[in-house]
C-alpha cells in the first residue's frame, strides 16, 4: 500500500520544468493576442484631475487606453470584490474611479499589438493629480494605532506580574515591510473565444477564488469564464487574492473583444501585497529558575486605509510556553499604502521572530542555556484553549537538532568563539505553525488499462502538489506512479480552496484517498459479480487495491485484476468524484514545530555576516515526500536568512513611494549567501489529526530562522540588533 507515500519521489512535473515545456500564465498563446501595459499613479493619495491619453492613442499599433473614464462596467458592490481570503474592508478596485489610494496604483492600461509598443505608449500618458495629505510611516503614526482583534484571552494579571518579576526582559523588535518577489512576474493571459467566453491563465494560488471573483466583478455566469494556472512560478502568498492584473486583462479582453495579456514589471509588482511592517513589543517575566510568570506581546502593524489586514503575530507565545499570566494585543495603523497580504508564515514569521529573540535575551539575563530555558517553559498543552496537541515532538526537535549542530560545544559567552578574522556565533530558536486542513474534492478516472487521471482545482505553486497527489493516488489505487496523471489548477475541476497556510498536502491527500475508496467500492461491486469470484461476499473494509488488482486485505492472493473486473462489468472506465471533509476535533490543538540552530561568521572589521550552517529539526507529522519536503524546509530556511539579513522594502515617506522596487536593491539571498542546511524530520506519529498523520510543511520552515540567526549574531558580536534586517552597518554601529 505504501510504495510511494513517505519516499523521496522525484517531482512528476520535473521533466516539464527542466525542459522549458511547463507553461506559466503569461506564456499561453492566442490568435491575435494583444498586450497591455499598466500606467501607475505617482502619488500616494488624492484624485486624478486630468488623464490625457491622446498621444498614446496616436502611436501606431495602440488599440486603446483603458481608464476609469472609458472602461467597461465593473461591479459597484464590495461583496463582488471581496474574494475568498479578503480581509475586512472595502477591496481595491482597479480603474474604478478617479481616486488614488496608494503610490503605484494602476490608473490606465495601454493595449497594443505588441508589448514594446504598449510599453512605449504608456510613457506618453499624461496625468495631473489633486494630491491630498498622506502618511506612510508606521513609526511616525504609531500613536494612531487602533486595537483590532484580540485573538487570545488574557490570563491573570500580566502587567503587574511582569513589573514585579524577578528577572524581566522587555523590548521592541521591528520587522520591515517585505515583498514576496516570486521569480515569475505577475501575469494574466485572457483568451477571448468567438462565443465571447474567456479562458483566463492567471498567476494565482487559487483558480476557483479568481473564477468566482471575476464572475462577480464582471457580472458573468460561471460558464462564461474558465481560470487555469497549471504552473505557478512561485507565489508565497502573493497569489492568494486575485491580483489587479487579472482584472485589467479581463477588462481589456471585454473592451476589445480580443485576447489580451498583461504582465506586470518587477517594479509594478511592488504595488501589490506585502508582509506588513510590524513593531513587536515582547515582555517576559521569569523566576530565577527560568520558569515564566508573565508573557506579553503587542504587535503594531501597517494596513491600508481601505482594508484591515491583521494576522496572528502574538498568539504563538501562549501556545509555546507555559505562563500563568499573559496578555496579547494586535493594533493596526491605517496608512496611504496598498493592503498587505499573507507572506510565508504570515504573523508567525514576524511574531515568533520577536518572541524568540526575546527568549534569547531572557536566557542571557538568567544565565541559562537557551534550550534549557525553553524546556523550563515547555508546554504539552495549548494553553489558550487548554487542549493537548494531536502530537508535539518539539522536545525531540531540540534534542536531535542540538545533537546534529553540536550545541553542547557552545561557549555561552558572547565573542568567545572565533575562526581567524571572523567572530563565530551560535544561536537557536523555536518555530511553530498551525496544522490546518480544508475540504477538497478529487475526481479519479480509472481506465481498464490500469491508468488513472486524478484531478482537482488545487494549485501547485512549487510546493509539490502534483507529486504528492500522484504518490497518494498510486498507493491508494495500487498502481505504479507512471500510470497516474494529475491535472490541477483549472476552475472547472473539483473544488479546492486557495493553496496556502500549509493545508494543501493534508487536504488534497485525503481527498485522493476518499475518491480512491469510491473507485475501490465500484471495483468490488464489479469483481464480486464474476462467477466464482475470489472477492465474493468480501467487505469493503477487507479489500485493497494492489498491484493492478483488487484483493482481500487479509489474503491478497485472492484478487481480481482491474482489467478483469472492468471487462466483466462491461465498463471501460470508472469515474468517481468525492469531497473530503475533515471531522471537527475540538479536543486537540494542531500545530507543527521546529527547533532551528544557526551558525554565523561575522567579519570583525567589515561587519559582513555569513550564515555558514543551519540545522532545522522539524516535527510535522508524517512526511509524504522526504525529497520535496526537505526542499520546502530548505527554502523556508533560505527565506529566514533573507528575513534576518537582507530583506527590506524601503519607502521614501516624503513621497510615499518605495525606493527599492526591483530585485537588485531589494536584496534576497543568492547562491553564495547559502551554505550548509541540514533538515531533520523528527519522527512524529499522529493518530488524531487525520488518517495519514500529515501536517503540512510550507510555512514552518521559515518560522524561527530569523531569530536563530539574530541570536547567533548576538553570540558572535555581543550586539543585540532588534531592527531587521541585520545589515553590516548595524553590526559596526
Amino acid at each position: 500500500m505504501n510504495a510511494y507515500i513517505g519516499t523521496p519521489t522525484s517531482r512528476v512535473d520535473g521533466r516539464a520544468k527542466v525542459t522549458g515545456a511547463a507553461k506559466y500564465a503569461g506564456e499561453f498563446p492566442a490568435d491575435g493576442l494583444l498586450h497591455g501595459f499598466v500606467v501607475e499613479a505617482t502619488i500616494p493619495c488624492g484624485r486624478i484631475a486630468r488623464l490625457d491619453t491622446s498621444a498614446a492613442l496616436q502611436v501606431k499599433g495602440v488599440l486603446d487606453v483603458l481608464t476609469h473614464a472609458n472602461r467597461p462596467p465593473l461591479a459597484d458592490k464590495d461583496e463582488a470584490w471581496r474574494d475568498e481570503v479578503a480581509p475586512e474592508g472595502s477591496p481595491f478596485r482597479p480603474l474604478y474611479d478617479d481616486t488614488v489610494k496608494f503610490n503605484g496604483q494602476p490608473i490606465a492600461l495601454v493595449v497594443a499589438e505588441d508589448w514594446e509598443t504598449a510599453k512605449f505608449a504608456a510613457t506618453l500618458v499624461r496625468v495631473e493629480y489633486e494630491q491630498r495629505g498622506f502618511a506612510t510611516d508606521l513609526e511616525g503614526e504609531r500613536g494612531k494605532a487602533a486595537e483590532m482583534d484580540k485573538p487570545h484571552k488574557p490570563r491573570g494579571d500580566a502587567a503587574a506580574t511582569l513589573a514585579q518579576a524577578r528577572v524581566r526582559h522587555e523590548a521592541e523588535y521591528v520587522i520591515p515591510t517585505e515583498h514576496h518577489n516570486p521569480m515569475e512576474l505577475y501575469a494574466t493571459t485572457a483568451i477571448w473565444d468567438s462565443n465571447g467566453k474567456l479562458t483566463i491563465y492567471d498567476k494565482t494560488q487559487g483558480v476557483q477564488n479568481v473564477h468566482k471573483f471575476l464572475c462577480g466583478v464582471f457580472d458573468k455566469k460561471p460558464d462564461d469564464i474558465r481560470v487555469a494556472s497549471p504552473y505557478v512560478g512561485g507565489a508565497f502568498g502573493s497569489g492568494l487574492r486575485p491580483q489587479y492584473q487579472v482584472v485589467l486583462a479581463t477588462l481589456g479582453a471585454l473592451a476589445l473583444k480580443r485576447s489580451v495579456r498583461v504582465v506586470l514589471t518587477r517594479q509594478q509588482m511592488y504595488g501589490l501585497g506585502y508582509r506588513p511592517m510590524t513593531i513587536e513589543r515582547v515582555g517576559l517575566g521569569a523566576k530565577s529558575d527560568g520558569t515564566l510568570d508573565a508573557v506579553t506581546h503587542e504587535a503594531i502593524a501597517v494596513t491600508s486605509r481601505y482594508e484591515d489586514f491583521a494576522r496572528n503575530d502574538t498568539g504563538w507565545a501562549e501556545q509555546l510556553y507555559s505562563s500563568p499570566n499573559s496578555r496579547f494585543s494586535h493594533k493596526l495603523v491605517h496608512l496611504d499604502v496598498s493592503t498587505p497580504c499573507d507572506m510565508r508564515a504570515p504573523g508567525a514569521a514576524s511574531g515568533v521572530c520577536a518572541l524568540e529573540c526575546a527568549m534569547d535575551e531572557l536566557s542571557v539575563a538568567l544565565k541559562l542555556d537557551p534550550i534549557e530555558l525553553r524546556l523550563k517553559c515547555y508546554s504539552d498543552r495549548d494553553q489558550s484553549e487548554n487542549l493537548p496537541y494531536t502530537s508535539k515532538q518539539l522536545r525531540e526537535c531540540y534534542a536531535r537538532g542540538a545533537d546534529a549542530f553540536g550545541w553542547s560545544r557552545r561557549n555561552p559567552a558572547p565573542r568567545s568563539m572565533r575562526d581567524g578574522k571572523e567572530l563565530v556565533g551560535w544561536g537557536m530558536a523555536t518555530g511553530v505553525w498551525e496544522a490546518l486542513q480544508m475540504p477538497v474534492a478529487v475526481r479519479i478516472v480509472l481506465t481498464s488499462n490500469g491508468h488513472a487521471e486524478v484531478s482537482c482545482a488545487a494549485s501547485d505553486i512549487g510546493t509539490g502538489t502534483y507529486t504528492i497527489v500522484a504518490q497518494v493516488a498510486a498507493d491508494a489505487l495500487g498502481l505504479p506512479i507512471e500510470n497516474i496523471s494529475v491535472r490541477l489548477a483549472d476552475s472547472t475541476l473539483p473544488q479546492a480552496p486557495v493553496e496556502g497556510g500549509s493545508w494543501m498536502a493534508a487536504s488534497s491527500a485525503h481527498a485522493v484517498l476518499a475518491a480512491a475508496e469510491e473507485v475501490r467500492k465500484e471495483l468490488l461491486r464489479l469483481a464480486g459479480k464474476i462467477h466464482g469470484s475470489p472477492l465474493a461476499g468480501a467487505e469493503l473494509a477487507d479489500t485493497v487495491l494492489t498491484d493492478g488488482s483488487i484483493a482481500r486485505a487479509s489474503d491478497n492472493r485472492r484478487a481480481v485484476s482491474i482489467a478483469d473486473a472492468m471487462r466483466h462489468g462491461g465498463v471501460e472506465r470508472i469515474e468517481k468524484e468525492k469531497l473530503n471533509q475533515f471531522g471537527e476535533d475540538k479536543k486537540h490543538a494542531r500545530n507543527t514545530h521546529s527547533a532551528v540552530f544557526a551558525e554565523v561568521k561575522v567579519d570583525e572589521l567589515l561587519g559582513v555576516i555569513r550564515v555558514t550552517r543551519v540545522v532545522s529539526a522539524i516535527a510535522a507529522g508524517r512526511i509524504l515526500n522526504t525529497k520535496t519536503g526537505r526542499s520546502q524546509i530548505m527554502g523556508g530556511v533560505v527565506w529566514g536568512i533573507g528575513m534576518a539579513l537582507h530583506e527590506e522594502t524601503v519607502m521614501d515617506h516624503r513621497f510615499g513611494r518605495i525606493m527599492n522596487a526591483n530585485i537588485a536593491e531589494y536584496h534576497i539571498p543568492v547562491n553564495a549567501d547559502v551554505h550548509d542546511i541540514d533538515v531533520i524530520f523528527v519522527d512524529e506519529p499522529d493518530a488524531h489529526i487525520n488518517a495519514l498523520g500529515i501536517k503540512g510543511l510550507g510555512e514552518i520552515g521559515i518560522v524561527g530562522v530569523p531569530a536563530a540567526i539574530a541570536n547567533a549574531v548576538y553570540h558572535a558580536t555581543g550586539k543585540r540588533i532588534r531592527r531587521f534586517p541585520i545589515t553590516l552597518d548595524k553590526v559596526l554601529d
Partner: protein, 163 residues
Amino acid sequence: MGDLTHQIPERIPIHLVVNGVSHTLDLVPWTTLLDALRDHLALSGTKKGCDHGQCGACTVLVDGRRVNSCLTLAVMNDGAEITTVEGLAKDGTLHPLQQAFIDHDAFQCGYCTPGQICSAAGLLVEGRARDADEIRELMSGNLCRCGAYPNILAAIQQAMGQP
C-alpha cells in the same frame, strides 16, 4: 509632440540560429533577445523575471557563452547561435544537468530553472568553478526565490562529476 506614428522604428531583418534551427525575423530594434525568443519564436522556456539583468531567469547561451537575454537586443545578435533550455535535450534524452536538477530536486516552482540550467551549462564550459564555493559564487547571478540553492549546487556538482 508631432506625429508619434513615426516614433515606432522600422523593422530590421535579423538572422538567428536557435537550437540549431535557422530563423529570419523582422524585428524593431528595441526588441530584446529575450522577447524575440518568447514572443516571436514561441520559445517560452526562457523566462522573464525582471527584464533588467537582475535575476538571471532569462539566461541563454549565445555562441556558447551564458548571457542575460533581457540585456541584449536581438539585432546585436544577428547571425549568432543561441541555445535555450528547449535545445539542451537531445533526441528525448535529457542533458546531464537537466537530469541532475530532477535527481537533486534543484527547483520547486521551476521558473528560474531554465536560466539556472543554461547558466550552469555555460559555467561548465568556462571551467572556472573548481569547488563548491566557486560554483556558488559563479551561480549567484541566477536568483531562486524558492531557495533551492543547496540542491542547485549538488546538481551542478553531479553534472561536473564531483562527489
